[in-house]
């Protein structure tokens, strides 16, 4: 493995500023958790400089919106995150942070880029080999899946409860929210045979062996007939299937190539079924899924980022620019903490989204080749 100076810079980040370079695994124990005061408009992290090691963040949500807390490395690579922190709730995040430059972010309302702050972690970090960087990608993405899974089970549970209680309005409101977590980790969920079709299959995919079920069956009843009185068993099955996916997903380690292909396939999903309004044809909440697929794609790319930086920095730049374009194109259609309905967009607006997604999918389709090359 050849060693290039740029890697050291990337990995170490703030090496020049660091003092002792000692690694203290008991950092959390010594000084207690780092408090994060999250509200609808602020994200106050008690410390902006830490020593390398494992740290515990204690996030208290005093706002009125559900929030999320992230620790990002370069390129929004998730080092740790905690989802679904409801108003009034306090939750912990334990995360191992090697020396480097990071960002913390709260996401009140769970969308957008969040309220950011810089976080410097001091100490020395060894330069990593290419293989080690790729190994890290798998672990990094695995952390992402774990955090999303937890929120997925909770939100699907809430949705199922509303359906079984016959609360149409509440179920409608929760439908795109629960799907968000599912759509983010679809590359993993799709690995497990029949589970994805059972959870997310559409009416035209149904067969005698796999009848129409899951999210979209309930969606149809919610939006078309408004009658969900018979959907109790469907809802229970949905939750059971989601839990099974989550259990299996925790043990599943996606290879770097799988990550690269997953990132691309999520964008293909956007291009072929979200922009066209095929996916959520009854609720027209396709833009929620769109945003979630893009998030998921970005998470997979971010996990591969250190390795990509080493192999093809130009490609990374191209991808960053294209993600920015997608984000700003999508942001035009944000309404509060959600999105406009797909049917409210004009053909020209949908073409704009389509162009942005294609422009992103093109460089992302090159990642697998870059990763595969020795």
């Amino acid at each position: 493995m050849q060693y290039r100076p740029i890697i050291a810079l990337l990995a170490v980040g703030t090496l020049a500023a660091c003092s002792g370079g000692k690694s203290d695994d008991t950092a959390a124990g010594a000084s207690g958790p780092i408090t994060v005061k999250a509200s609808d408009t602020a994200c106050e992290v008690a410390k902006s400089s830490l020593d390398a090691g494992t740290h515990v963040f204690q996030i208290a949500n005093s706002g009125s919106k559900v929030t999320e807390f992230y620790v990002y490395a370069d390129g929004d690579r998730v080092m740790g995150e905690v989802e679904n922190i409801t108003p009034g709730l306090s939750r912990e995040l334990r995360v191992e942070l090697p020396a480097g430059a990071y960002q913390t972010a709260c996401k009140p309302g769970m969308i957008g880029t969040g309220i950011r702050a810089a976080l410097t972690v001091n100490g020395s970090a060894p330069a990593l080999t290419e293989d080690a960087l790729l190994q890290q990608a798998t672990e990094s993405y695995s952390r992402y899946v774990t955090s999303q899974s937890e929120a997925l089970v909770q939100k699907t549970g809430d949705f199922v409860t509303a359906v079984k209680a016959g609360d149409v309005a509440k179920a409608k409101a929760l439908f795109p929210v629960a799907r968000t977590y599912y759509e983010r980790i679809e590359p993993v969920a799709e690995i497990f045979g029949d589970l994805d079709p059972k959870i997310d299959g559409r009416e035209d995919d149904a067969t005698a062996a796999l009848p129409f079920s899951g999210f979209h069956k309930i969606e149809k009843d919610l939006w078309v007939s408004g009658d969900i009185t018979k959907d109790g068993p469907v809802a229970d099955q949905l939750l059971a299937d989601v839990k099974e996916v989550v259990t299996k997903a925790k043990d599943e380690k996606l290879s770097p190539l799988q990550l690269a292909n997953g990132a691309k396939e999520l964008l293909d999903e956007v291009a072929n079924s979200k922009i066209t309004g095929e996916e959520d044809r009854y609720s027209h909440t396709d833009l929620w899924d769109f945003a979630a697929n893009v998030d998921g794609s970005q998470a997979a790319v971010a996990a591969l980022r250190p390795a990509l930086e080493q192999r093809s920095p130009d490609l990374v730049k191209q991808i960053d620019t294209a993600f920015t374009t997608v984000d700003s194109e999508l942001a035009k259609y944000q309404v509060g903490d959600g999105w406009k309905l797909q049917t409210d967009l004009s053909d020209a607006q949908l073409k704009g989204l389509s162009d942005a997604i294609n422009a992103l999918a093109q460089p992302i389709s090159q990642i697998a080749g870059v990763i595969a090359k020795k």
């Binding site: 190539l257 690269a260 294209a322 073409k351 162009d355 294609n358 422009a359 992103l360 999918a361 093109q362 460089p363 389709s365 090159q366 697998a368 080749g369 870059v370 990763i371 595969a372 090359k373």
Partner: protein, 424 residues
Amino acid sequence: MTEKSLSRRRAIALAGVGVAGIAGAAGVGAALIREDEPQTVAADASGAVGFYGGAQAGIITPAQDRLHFVAFDVLTKDRAQLVRMLKDWTAAAARMTAGQDAGEIGATEGILEAPPDDTGEAIGLPPSGLTLTIGFGPTLFRDASGKDRFGLASRKPAALADLPHFPGDTIDPGISGGDICVQACANDPQVAVHAIRNLARLGVGVVSVRWSQLGFGRTSSTSTAQATPRNLFGFKDGTANLKAEETDLLKQNLWVQPGDGPEWMTGGAYMVTRKIRMLIESWDRTSLGEQEDIFGRTKGEGAAMGQAKEFDEIDLVSRNGEGDPLVKDDAHIRLAHPTTNNGARLLRRGYNFVDGSDGLGRLNAGLFFIAYQRDVRTGFVPIQMNLARHDALNEYIRHVSSALFACPAGVSGPDDFWGRSLFA
């Protein structure tokens, strides 16, 4: 033809050298070297038409049988990125017109993990006379609000002004205009589609396809060696078309001359496209006599009314025994004739199209009209204004799309690229 015995690669290399030599001797612009058009000759229908040359291939090249035409919107605001794409396109076009894969690696030679740099549907197919011709639309220079998009506004030719509204126009903006166009003509439809598809793929993120059109059955002959084909009305079309062999007429009517406008267009031509829907079923209910009167030609031979043979001189003056003109006042060929239009002549290169059927069960069919000329203001515009106002054929046609592009001179060799004179 000795070319027939040469390998594909060798023939192209020779063509390139020939042009460079002549250009060097002449010392100046591409327009001067068009007499020697190595790229206009393919050994046979499956052979290659040279890509490099003084003029772009695909204009006076004997019209191939199939068309795939595409218009792009430019997405990027970055001039350098656009130029990079044009260079990539040029390299791919040089390869594909030679019957090679779009990329250097090829459709099946790359690593398994990466998408191939050619899409593969032309594997095993010969060059099929493929020509790729590029044009730049008015909106590339200034956007709708008048903003200079790429610092090119001062280079926009006056001849590239938006076409006026013609009486009866029912233009759909969604299938009209465009910042850049590429005309792919080939004798095999799959070869033409393969070329456009790969250029669109290479342009992703920089350009976006605005509209595209497939065509079949060339409706014009661009060389005296070709027989005049028929349009979907069943008539010979383009008998009086400009032809490759008419050197002086081409100079007067087709090629942009030094001093006509910005230098970067010298040796090029302006292209108008019009998608003309034919009301086929109504036409088919029209009597033979009326059909012939509307066109001003006989349906069988294609002779002008009152004449015996297709290429007999049109007589616009004489009258029949009842005192009526042989060619009626509102006949298509009278209104389109150079003598009716201050001598204006076009080089037409249109194709028939059938886009399936419409919701009423009618064939969605017609003519995808393409015409090249030195200046649309003295070419297409006055001719079409005349036709739009008076042509008896108007009852059976609708113009549904319209576009105008500036097609510069040819790519001189591997170091040159599409649009270099414009972006220089």
